[in-house]
């Protein structure tokens, strides 16, 4: 019984590490794209695709273990939902990087620092979800204080994305309307990461309340 439990714990930890690694790859990928480092960008994209595959396999394995071994009948539904939502983070990151690769948006030099900052804050929101999720499994009482970081970064992401969009549409007359639309979509794509992180945070808050003795 304890051996099975240890295996499940190991799988969950691996999954969370996979999410963390994917977010790092995404951040690095966007940076490489912005600085036109094609070689490293392609390598980031490939690694992220592998990471996404690995996370899917891990999630299914965890699901099988929890259900076949009848572990945590009351909590497993919630835990599987949490892992699915976290998997969405990886999926979104991969989708975003692929969109950069396929659509090759033309990014003006003056927008590079802003977009870089947006990526970093948005991924910071997602990265803050990981310690909160880890805390849920061992110290549910500490989840709420870790979740605050997610909400904070999500709010900052929204503000910055708004600033960037205003800059694109109001201060860059040299850009074509199609280019402006294109850039707006890319800010939205990056912003999506923090929105998913917020969803995970909401879920974690409720789950932690359920678990708090």
């Amino acid at each position: 019984m304890f051996a099975r439990a240890n295996k499940s714990i190991e799988l969950i930890n691996k999954f969370l590490n996979c999410v963390d690694q994917s977010l790092l790859l995404f951040k690095d990928g966007v940076k490489n794209y912005l600085y036109r480092d094609q070689g490293n960008f392609a390598s980031n994209l490939q690694s992220l695709a592998n990471s996404e595959l690995e996370s899917d396999v891990l999630r299914r394995e965890i699901e099988n273990t929890l259900y076949t071994q009848s572990l945590m009948p009351q909590l497993r539904g919630d835990i599987m939902r949490l892992l699915e939502e976290m998997d969405n983070l990886i999926d979104q990151a991969k989708k975003n990087l692929f969109q950069f690769d396929v659509e090759m948006p033309n990014i003006p030099a003056e927008l590079i620092p802003d977009l870089l900052k947006l990526t970093q804050i948005s991924t910071s929101a997602a990265e803050s979800v990981i310690p909160a999720a880890k805390s849920y499994f061992s110290e549910p009482a500490n989840v709420s204080e870790k979740i605050h970081r997610v909400y904070f970064f999500e709010k900052e992401t929204d503000l910055l994305a708004d600033v960037i969009r205003r800059k694109i549409f109001r201060e860059m007359p040299e850009l074509k309307l199609s280019e402006k639309f294109h850039l707006r979509y890319f800010t939205l794509h990056i912003e999506n990461i923090s929105d998913i992180a917020e969803k995970v945070a909401d879920l974690l808050t409720i789950m932690a309340i359920k678990r708090t003795v």
């Binding site: 572990l71 900052k117 970081r149 970064f153």
Partner: protein, 582 residues
């Protein structure tokens, strides 16, 4: 045969007790699927029987002292009426107690047969109805605090915690079942002990009335658990008393402890032995103790979590159950005696065995009425004080927690600012690196430009000297040759070798390792063709390329055509797209 018929009402009461009260012990465990029903039923049945046989005598003696029903007909009626009232109250979803029903029935029988009621015993019993749930609340509050502290400190992973909780649910369930058997068997079989006297021999072993009755009662409770409790457990686990498994452990353990304390003859004798007021041996309602335990947990978690209507329900149960049971028994006894001609009082005993009250009474010596009242009063005061202390402690703790929270929020805010500043710094560093690279590039450009100016000056000076020399030359042919050679020098200079070289270097920097990849993929390309490809990759048109390569636009077109052939491109293929894809 008559004995078996009359005892059926007691067995029915036992069955009903098993079906209902087992849910208090294993309800959450089974309802939440932490423990399988089969496991719960087997453990519950075994430990209920063990509790009944090993520790059921104490509470039975107290009930016998309240009113010694000395005829099987009377005992049958009392048990039957209790069972009916219990069923009725359960149907009305009130926290009913089999013990309260049986006490009401005994008093009803006493009134009917004009047997005097021992009011000191009645006071003890009624006192325990109040102290039982209060003790349950205190135990659960303390156990809950302890468990919460342990779980928070231990930081056990949820999956491992799940296993520990399963084991704890089984262990506390077994203890709960044992205590239920020990405490509540008196409700099921207590009324029969003075109305029948039997001894059965099995070879070397012989069983007296109490042992036999308790064994049968235990089996009836176990049958109730095995046959009907599953439905109740599933309802309890997901419905009215839906608890988390952690809370269920506390509730079951509190209930088991209270029932154990109110049925342990050893503890009773020990406390009496050292001169302390003993805990009376009285059947207590497990459901009401569970409700008390839930209220105790509610106190710890915050007063807003307490459902005060539950307290009202308990009070209603205290009044209604014995009253209904007593009245019903009184009326039924009238019909039993006058319509069915069944003996309900002591003169028509079935056998001439000695009164069993004295047998059990020898083990325990109950204190006098006054002592008992004082004991109850003392317990009440102690419990009230404990409650006040607990509430005060909680208030202080909440105050401190609020201060801590405020402090933590401030720290958190500083952390956020720090994190944002770090991001900002990181970006600035990256920007600086990029600017430094740009600056270095510009510096090189400037150096090249300065060198070019110097070189150009030298060239122009030498040109000026040569023209002056040619001007001085008298020989026309020689003069013409000199001027022609200067024209060639000027044309050569016009090829802008340095500048072109510079453009290539720039292009190489923008598309790092492009030329190396090109050489690796197409080793047969000439230097001229590679340069053409670099310029095309940078988006230069044929018109723009021609002055850089110092050839005509037509020659650029021809070079492009040759390049396409060398790269094996088809008519529909775009050369620039092909180069960009490399």
């Amino acid at each position: 045969m008559e004995f078996i018929f009359f005892i059926t009402s007691g067995l029915f009461l036992g069955w009903s007790l098993g079906a209902n009260d087992a849910a208090n012990i294993f309800g959450t465990a089974v309802g939440t699927r932490m423990v399988r029903f089969r496991t719960a039923a087997i453990i519950g049945s075994i430990f209920v029987i063990l509790g009944a046989i090993l520790q059921g005598s104490g509470t039975t003696n107290t009930l016998s002292q309240l009113g010694s029903i000395d005829a099987l007909g009377g005992a049958f009626t009392a048990a039957l009426c209790s069972a009916i009232v219990v069923t009725l109250m359960t149907w009305k979803k009130l926290p009913v107690s089999t013990g309260q029903a049986i006490v009401g029935a005994i008093i009803g029988w006493s009134f009917f047969t004009s047997t005097p009621v021992d009011y000191s015993v009645l006071t003890t019993i009624v006192g325990s109805w109040v102290t039982g749930p209060i003790l349950g609340a205190i135990f659960s509050a303390l156990l809950y605090l302890l468990m919460r502290r342990f779980i928070r400190k231990a930081s056990i992973h949820v999956i491992k915690l799940d296993i520990y909780i399963r084991l704890a649910l089984v262990v506390t369930g077994a203890f709960g079942a044992y205590s239920l058997g020990a405490n509540n068997i008196a409700n099921v079989m207590g009324v029969f002990v003075n109305s029948v006297s039997l001894t059965i021999h099995f070879g070397e072993f012989s069983f007296n009335t109490i042992q036999l009755l308790f064994f049968l009662g235990g089996i009836s409770v176990a049958l109730g658990i095995a046959t009907y409790s599953k439905k109740v457990m599933e309802t309890v686990g997901n419905g009215v008393l839906s608890l988390t498994p952690e809370t269920a452990i506390v509730v079951v353990l509190s209930q088991a402890l209270v029932l154990f304390l109110f049925s342990s003859t050893s503890l009773y004798n020990f406390l009496t032995g050292i001169g302390l007021p003993p805990i009376p041996l009285v059947p207590v309602s497990s459901t009401q103790v569970v409700v008390g335990a839930l209220i105790g947990i509610g106190f710890v978690r915050g007063v807003q979590e307490i459902r005060f209507e539950m307290l009202g329900n308990i009070a209603l149960g205290w009044l209604l159950t014995p009253l209904l049971s007593g009245v019903l028994t009184f009326i039924t006894l009238f019909f039993m005696q006058n319509v069915f001609n069944v003996a309900v009082s002591g003169h028509e005993r079935m056998t001439d065995g000695p009164a069993l009250t004295h047998e059990i009474g020898n083990i325990i010596h109950l204190p006098a009425n006054t002592d008992r009242l004082l004991t109850i009063l003392a317990i009440g005061i102690i419990l009230l004080s404990a409650l006040v202390i607990l509430l005060n402690y909680r208030k202080n703790k909440m105050k401190l927690a609020a201060q801590d929270k405020k402090l933590a929020e401030q720290i958190q805010y500083t952390d956020y600012q720090k994190a944002l500043s770090e991001i900002e710094m990181h970006n600035i560093k990256m920007e600086n690196t990029s600017l430094a690279e740009h600056l270095e590039e510009k510096r090189k450009e400037l150096v090249t430009f300065a060198l070019n100016i110097g070189e150009m000056k030298q060239f122009l000076e030498s040109l000026c000297d040569s023209i002056k020399e040619a001007d001085k030359e008298q020989n026309l042919q020689k003069k013409h040759d000199l001027l022609h050679s200067e024209v060639i020098r000027i044309k050569l200079k016009m090829s802008f070798a340095h500048e072109v070289e510079h453009i290539y270097k720039q292009a190489e920097q923008i598309h790092s390792d492009f030329v190396s990849r090109l050489t690796l993929r197409f080793p047969e390309l000439t230097e001229h063709e590679k340069r053409l490809m670099v310029l095309l990759r940078n988006g230069f048109s044929s018109k723009e390329i021609s002055p850089i390569l110092n050839i005509s636009p037509k020659s650029v077109e021809i070079s492009r055509y040759r390049l396409r052939k060398k790269l094996n491109l088809q008519k529909e293929d775009n050369l620039t797209q092909f180069i960009n894809a490399i």
